[in-house]
C-alpha cells in the first residue's frame, strides 16, 4: 500500500534535470526532494528518510555508487539510478550494490515513474494476498509453489519455478544475470549464463503467448531480465 506522496530524493548535479524530474514526480503523486551532490543527498537521507532515491551515476568521483552502497546499508529505500552511458558496466555495478533499477539518459519520464512505482511496490509491506501474483493470464502462488496459465497448472521444473518466482518477487524491476544465477543455481554458477538462457527459453515456451515476442519475460542486453508488468498508475502525457 502506497502512502500518498512518497518522498523521492533526486540526486543529480544538473539543475535542469532535477527540476524537470521533480515536476514529473509531482504530477505523478510523489513528493520530490532535490540534492545536487552525493554529500547533500547523504545528509538529506539521514535527516528525512525518503522512500526512494533517483541517483545519477554521472556524479563526480564515483560518488553515485558509494551513495548507493551507503543508502542500502542503512535502509530499505528504493533506489533507481540514472546513467548517461550506454555501456552496461556501471548499471550492473549499481544493481549489484543494491540499486533496484535503472534508466538510461535520455529517458522517458513515464518509464522512470513506472520503474519507480515497481521499486516502491516491492518495498511496501506484505499484504494478505501477497503470496499470489497475477500477470495477465499467468499466476503464481508462492505458498503452494505452483504457476498457472489460464487457470490451468503449468508444469515447471524446480529451476524454472525458482527462476520465475524470483522474477515475480521483483516484478517490474530488472535483476542482473549474476543475481538470478546465484539465487536459482547457487553462487558457484554465477557466470553460467547458458543455464539462464535455457531456463528462460523454457519459461517463455510455457507461459508466453508468442515465445518469439515475449511480453512477460523481457531481457535487458548485458544487464539482466525483468518481469514486465502493466504500469499501475497511468502517465499524464501521451506516449507515441
Amino acid at each position: 500500500m502506497l502512502n500518498n506522496g512518497p518522498r523521492v530524493l533526486i540526486v543529480d548535479d544538473e539543475m535542469q534535470i532535477r527540476r524537470l524530474v521533480a515536476l514529473s514526480l509531482q504530477r505523478g503523486g510523489f513528493e520530490p526532494i532535490e540534492a545536487a551532490s552525493a554529500q547533500a543527498a547523504a545528509a538529506i537521507a539521514l535527516g528525512q528518510s525518503p522512500d526512494a532515491a533517483l541517483i545519477d551515476l554521472g556524479l563526480p568521483d564515483r560518488d553515485g555508487l558509494e551513495l548507493i552502497a551507503m543508502l542500502r546499508r542503512r535502509s530499505d529505500i528504493a533506489i533507481i539510478v540514472l546513467s548517461a552511458r550506454d555501456g552496461t558496466d556501471d548499471k550492473v555495478a549499481a544493481l549489484d550494490l543494491g540499486a533496484d533499477d535503472y534508466v538510461t539518459k535520455p529517458f522517458d519520464t513515464d518509464e522512470l515513474l513506472a520503474r519507480l512505482r515497481s521499486a516502491l511496490r516491492r518495498r511496501a509491506p506484505h499484504d494478505a494476498a501477497g503470496s499470489r501474483q497475477r500477470f495477465g493470464d499467468v499466476a503464481i502462488d508462492h505458498d503452494r509453489r505452483l504457476v498457472e496459465r489460464d487457470g490451468r497448472e503449468v508444469h515447471l521444473t524446480p529451476k524454472e519455478y525458482a527462476l520465475f518466482a524470483e522474477l515475480a518477487r521483483h516484478a517490474g524491476k530488472v535483476i542482473t544475470h549474476a543475481q538470478l544465477l546465484r539465487t536459482v543455481w547457487g553462487p558457484a554458477h554465477e557466470r553460467d549464463i547458458e543455464y539462464l538462457r535455457v531456463a528462460t527459453r523454457a519459461l517463455r515456451l510455457k507461459l508466453e503467448a508468442d515465445p518469439a515476442r515475449p511480453a512477460l519475460i523481457r531481457n535487458e542486453p548485458g544487464v539482466g531480465y525483468r518481469l514486465s508488468v502493466a504500469s499501475a498508475g497511468s502517465s499524464s502525457d501521451e506516449s507515441p
Partner: protein
C-alpha cells in the same frame, strides 16, 4: 680494466739454452752423487737416481725439457755406470734392458709431468674465464636498453676475441654488407644449426669470417660475425668455448631486455586505452546530458499539439542513437572495443531492439519469426543490440510507410542466420561492400538523409566479433540484411 681482459696464454715452454744448461747441470749432479755412492748402489738404483732430473725438468719445463733430461741421463748412465764404463757400449744384455727400462720410464714420467702442467694451466684459465663470465652477467643485468646492451656485448666480444665483431640480423642476411656469398651461407648455417661456421671452423672454412648465433633479441634472430683479416682463426681455438658462453649469456640478456622494452610499450598502450575510454565516456556524458534535459522537458510539456511533441521525442531518440553510433565507431577505429562474448538468445536481442525502436516503428508492421529450437549464439550482447537497432533503423529508413519489416532467425546447417527484410527499393546499384563502408548510401538516398554511420557500426562490430554480414536484394522487391553466426563447438 686489465682484469676484464682475457687471461694471457703463457707459451708452452720449449727447450732453450738455459733449460738445456739446467738439464745438464741436474744430470751432472745426479751422476756425481752416483759416482760417489757406486759401491753401495745397484744399476737399477742409479737409474732411479737419474730419474730425478727428469722429473724436475719435466715438471718445470714440460715435455721437451723432460725428454732432454731423459736423454742426458741415459747417456750418463751408459757412459759412467754401465760396463764397459767410459764407453757407450753395453756389454751385458740385462744392463741393456735396465737402460731401456730407464728410458721408457723417463719418457713416461716426462709425459705425465707435462700433462699435469697442462691441466693446471687449463684449470687456471677456466677459473679466469668463469670470473669474466660472472662479471659479464652482472654487467649485462644492469643494462635495460636493448641497443646499449648490444653495443656493450659487442665491445666485450671484440676485446676477448681480438677480432672485429658485427651483429647481423638473420632476416637481413641477403642485404647485409657481407664479404662473400660463402659468408652468407656460413652465417645461415650457423643460425640454423646453432654452431660456429666459417673461417677457422669445421664448417665452410672458406668464408672470410667466423659466424656464431647469438639468440633472439629485439624480435629478430642475431648472428655474430668475427673477422680478423688474414688470420687463420678469428677466434683462437681454445677460446671458442668461452666466446660461445659469452654469446649465450648475451643472447639471454638481449631477450630479457627486449621483453622488458615490449612490456613498457604495452603498459604505455594500456594507459592510452584507459585515457581514451575515459575521454569517450566523458564526451558521451556531455552529449547525452543536454539531450536528457530536452527529453525530460518534452515529457513534462503539456500540449494539445501531440504530433509535434511525439515527433520531437522521436528526434531526441534518433539523436541518442547517433551519439551511440559515433562513440561506437570511435572506439572501433581506435581498436578499443571491449568484447565480452557470452551465450545469447536471439529472442532476447530481437525483443530488446524492437523495444528500443518501438516509437519509431509505428508506420511499419513488424513480423518476428524465430525458430524456437534455435541454438544460442556467442556474441557481445550490447554490440549485437546496437547492430540490430541500426539494421532495423536502416530498414525503416529505406522502406515506405506501411510496408512490413520482417525479422527472422533460423538454423542454417549448424550456423545461425539472422535476417532483416524490408520492402524498400532494394540495394540498387550499390555493391554490398560499399554499403557497409562509412559515409556511403545506396540508391534513392536523397529521400532519407544520413551519413551511413549505422551500417558502418554494423560492419565494424561484426568484424570485431568475427560474424559475417551480408546484404542482398530480396524478391520481388526490397532488401534483406543478414548476420551469420558460426556454429558453436
Amino acid at each position: 680494466m686489465a682484469q676484464e681482459d682475457y687471461p694471457e696464454q703463457t707459451a708452452a715452454p720449449t727447450l732453450g739454452r738455459w733449460s738445456f744448461a739446467a738439464a745438464v747441470a741436474l744430470v751432472a749432479i745426479a751422476t756425481g752423487i752416483g759416482l760417489l755412492l757406486t759401491p753401495w748402489l745397484s744399476l737399477a738404483s742409479l737409474g732411479f737416481l737419474s730419474l730425478l732430473p727428469v722429473i724436475v725438468m719435466a715438471d718445470r719445463g714440460g715435455l721437451s725439457n723432460g725428454l732432454a733430461a731423459a736423454a742426458l741421463g741415459a747417456l750418463s748412465l751408459n757412459f759412467f755406470f754401465i760396463p764397459p764404463i767410459f764407453t757407450l757400449a753395453v756389454a751385458r744384455p740385462d744392463n741393456a734392458v735396465t737402460l731401456a727400462v730407464f728410458v721408457g720410464v723417463a719418457m713416461a714420467v716426462s709425459s705425465l709431468a707435462d700433462r699435469r702442467r697442462l691441466q693446471a694451466a687449463q684449470s687456471e684459465r677456466a677459473a679466469a674465464e668463469n670470473a669474466l663470465l660472472a662479471s659479464l652477467s652482472q654487467q649485462l643485468a644492469r643494462i635495460a636498453d636493448p641497443a646499449e646492451l648490444r653495443e656493450f656485448l659487442r665491445s666485450r666480444l671484440v676485446r676477448w676475441s681480438g677480432s672485429e665483431v658485427r651483429f647481423l640480423a638473420a632476416a637481413d642476411l641477403d642485404t647485409a654488407i657481407l664479404l662473400s656469398p660463402m659468408d652468407v651461407a656460413a652465417a645461415r648455417w650457423a643460425h640454423a644449426h646453432g654452431e660456429a661456421a666459417g673461417k677457422g671452423g669445421a664448417v665452410m672454412p672458406g668464408a672470410d669470417a667466423l659466424y656464431l648465433p647469438l639468440g633472439a633479441g629485439g624480435g629478430e634472430h642475431v648472428i655474430a660475425q668475427f673477422w680478423n683479416g688474414d688470420v687463420a682463426a678469428p677466434i683462437p681455438a681454445e677460446r671458442l668455448g668461452f666466446i660461445r658462453q659469452v654469446l649465450d649469456r648475451g643472447g639471454d640478456a638481449l631477450q630479457r631486455a627486449d621483453l622488458m622494452a615490449r612490456q613498457a610499450t604495452l603498459d604505455e598502450q594500456r594507459r592510452h586505452d584507459v585515457l581514451r575510454e575515459t575521454l569517450l565516456n566523458s564526451i558521451g556524458h556531455d552529449l547525452r546530458t543536454p539531450l536528457a534535459t530536452i527529453r525530460a522537458a518534452l515529457g513534462t510539456i503539456r500540449s494539445d499539439d501531440r504530433e509535434a511533441l511525439a515527433g520531437a521525442k522521436l528526434e531526441v531518440d534518433r539523436l541518442d542513437r547517433m551519439i551511440a553510433n559515433v562513440l561506437d565507431l570511435a572506439r572501433l577505429r581506435a581498436d578499443g572495443a571491449r568484447i565480452e562474448r557470452v551465450p545469447v538468445d536471439l529472442t532476447d536481442v530481437v525483443d530488446a531492439a524492437i523495444d528500443a525502436m518501438s516509437g519509431t516503428l509505428t508506420a511499419h508492421p513488424l513480423s518476428v519469426d524465430i525458430d524456437p529450437e534455435l541454438p544460442l549464439v556467442l556474441a557481445d550482447a550490447r554490440m549485437l543490440h546496437h547492430m540490430l537497432i541500426n539494421l532495423i533503423d536502416n530498414a525503416r529508413k529505406y522502406s515506405p510507410a506501411g510496408s512490413p519489416i520482417a525479422i527472422a532467425a533460423r538454423d542454417d546447417d549448424g550456423e545461425v542466420l539472422l535476417s532483416i527484410t524490408d520492402r524498400g527499393p532494394g540495394l540498387g546499384a550499390a555493391d554490398a561492400n560499399e554499403l557497409f563502408a562509412a559515409f556511403r548510401r545506396g540508391t534513392d538516398s536523397d529521400r532519407t538523409p544520413g551519413s551511413g554511420l549505422g551500417l558502418a557500426v554494423v560492419a565494424g562490430f561484426a568484424d570485431a566479433m568475427s560474424l559475417t554480414i551480408g546484404a542482398a536484394d530480396d524478391s520481388p522487391s526490397g532488401a534483406v540484411f543478414t548476420i551469420r553466426f558460426p556454429a558453436r563447438c
